[in-house]
Symmetry: C2
Subunit: 379 residues, 2 copies
């Protein structure tokens, strides 16, 4: 007898979908074939009008809600918002969550076997863009017989995918929910990504991306990349509240290897844990997709003009202490939507947790998302 | 015939001072003997009342002003503020600038030969604190027959030394000028330092700090450490203005090794150049001294109480877009000084350049510093 919470989607099983036809990519190359792993929560209605796509961020995956086994005590990454009666109410919506192409959680990516060589893609896996992801997601929608999403929802890199959906397939998305995101990266954002990439690439165990052939992983580089990333996910204040300058022991060690301050311990743990479960080539791909995202670029940087073709209603949300994608970046998007005379709701949520806030059950945030989602018609 | 600018201190020659007696350190160890390299600008007056100590920041050194040869086209790191008629006017002041103990520019540090072993100290060099630096600087003052500094001036980590002077030797400092600094690091500050240290320590060429014995340097780690540091020295806006999302070529490369965005090129250059000229063990020492600096710790965190013993007048300056040591951190110091009823002037300078601003010739900043310094009596 499973003992999952009453508002949980309960036991879920990942599904696999093969796509046998070539996918043309922004880089000019094609993937001859690919596979996507995904999960669904709730039931598709007769009109197929209640489907919601949830897009994941840099280190996310398809397992957004529920549990994988009856012993599983850790639900999916957005379980706080997806479930019966929750913000994205699975009593109303049919929710689809996938692992992006190039990922390392089951979809075709650098760790997958290239059928043309019989070896893992490794460094030969093509560089992907947010547009490529949206195109592959559209093929998944075709297979699921979803002509039009009630909503595409995402935070951070996931929000960029939601925006790209509204641009690439205006007729296939009714609502775009873009949370803690930006219409393009700033130079500082790119700089942090570049440090992460250099940490991975300069790790002697990286072997130009073909580390699998050498039976190693660039653990040190991935650890450093995650440590840098993690600092940018938290606000200065939330780090201060969480760790302060607390020492792990009652005195200073006067060496460089001991873990002295709590924040060092936390970061090293996060980095080490991540380096054991995430693929370095995928990390590189994800950061490049972030760097390259700049939909207004083809319109000379005019975001309002770029957004002229969208027909979706927008909900944009940001968090006060998020300095990775600050409220100012969300307002760029909101201002451009208003200039293009598009319907947009914008909410800046008071939250101390920095960029991480978009993953957390902050009451005003979750209630606002719920209010918006509940007003979406699904007949 | 030298062609140095008229307001330059001109040709300067580093001087070396040996200290044959043991220096007791905060870590409990002692250095049996040590040497400091320093430069002086201007002339010590008859009363020895016009001496100003300039303290350097993390990657700084003794060469703060003037030129080392007639062909030298790059003046010292604070030449914009030190010279005849400049903010720190060498017509009035006798300026002393040294390379801190543990440094890699001539003072005794990890690269120096340990006379007890005949080999370089390497990893065996003791961990230093800001207090240790101030104590060694006091010995230099003794040698120079300077009983009391007219002012001790520093930015960033240099500002911490100025504050420590006011605390350790209240009777030997009349004015404390603390620029773009903080009374202690935040958890986020420590986190960035920890990433830098991990980058160095996990570099296989680090060899537990004894890389010299292996004839290598941990170049990759130092490069990454500097890249991370450099991001924190610049404001998001100044990076945006300097680099934007400008590409180095006219199209994307769709790989991970090409330098695509200008900001990547800048960071890699900064990192590589730094890794060739700076010592990794010194970098570790400097970051630890920063982490450990917390003068109020012995007073249970009560900074005002800690400052009760100071007798120096304070000038505190911060820069609006500095997010490494934000204006709020300077205000902590100012508020504590006010609570302790100590004389303090505070100026928050409007500047787009982030933490780096303290090294730049920003007119309002330089004028304010000049105004304050010119009011210091030197009879």
């Amino acid at each position: 007898m499973p003992t999952f919470p009453a508002d949980s989607v309960g036991l879920v099983t990942p599904q696999y979908q093969a796509f046998p036809d070539p996918l043309r990519l922004a880089c000019g190359k094609s993937l001859a074939q690919f596979e996507l792993v995904y999960e669904t929560y709730g039931t598709l209605n007769a009109n197929h009008s209640n489907a919601v796509l949830v897009c994941h961020a840099l280190s996310g995956h398809h397992h957004a809600a529920g549990y994988h086994s009856e012993d599983d005590r850790k639900p999916g990454w957005w379980d706080s918002c997806i479930g019966p009666g929750k913000a994205i109410d699975t009593n109303r919506f049919f929710v689809v969550s996938l692992n992006n192409l190039g990922g390392c959680h089951g979809s075709t990516g650098p760790c997958s076997i290239n059928p043309e060589t019989g070896k893992s893609y490794g460094a030969s896996f093509p560089v992907l863009s947010v547009e490529d992801w949206v195109n592959s997601q559209a093929q998944l929608a075709d297979v699921l017989d979803i002509q039009c999403w009630a909503a595409v929802v995402g935070g951070s890199l996931g929000g960029m995918q939601a925006i790209q959906w509204a641009l690439s397939y205006p007729e296939r998305i009714r609502h775009c929910v873009a949370i803690a995101t930006a219409p393009k990266l700033s130079a500082q954002n790119i700089a942090f990504n570049e440090v992460a990439r250099q940490a991975i690439i300069t790790d002697p165990d990286f072997h130009n991306g073909d580390y699998a052939a050498f039976g190693v992983i660039p653990k040190r580089g991935l650890m450093l990349a995650r440590m840098v990333g993690h600092i940018t996910y938290l606000s200065d204040d939330s780090m201060g509240e969480k760790f302060g300058r607390e020492l792990r022991t009652d005195r200073l060690n006067y060496d460089f290897t001991s873990v002295e301050f709590q924040v060092e311990s936390y970061l090293r743990y996060q980095g080490q844990e991540f380096s054991a479960r995430f693929d370095a080539n995928t990390y590189l791909l994800m950061t490049k997709a972030l760097d390259y995202f700049d939909p207004a670029e083809t319109q000379g940087g005019d975001l309002a003009k770029t957004l002229e073709k969208v027909t979706a209603d927008f909900l944009v949300m940001s968090f006060t202490t998020d300095w990775r994608f600050s409220p100012a970046r969300s307002r760029e998007l909101v201002n451009a939507l208003m200039a293009a005379r598009k319907p947009v709701s914008y909410l800046e949520i008071e939250a101390a947790q920095g960029h991480d806030a978009f993953l957390l059950p902050i009451p005003r945030y979750v209630e606002a998302l719920q209010g918006y989602m509940n007003r979406i018609e699904v007949d």
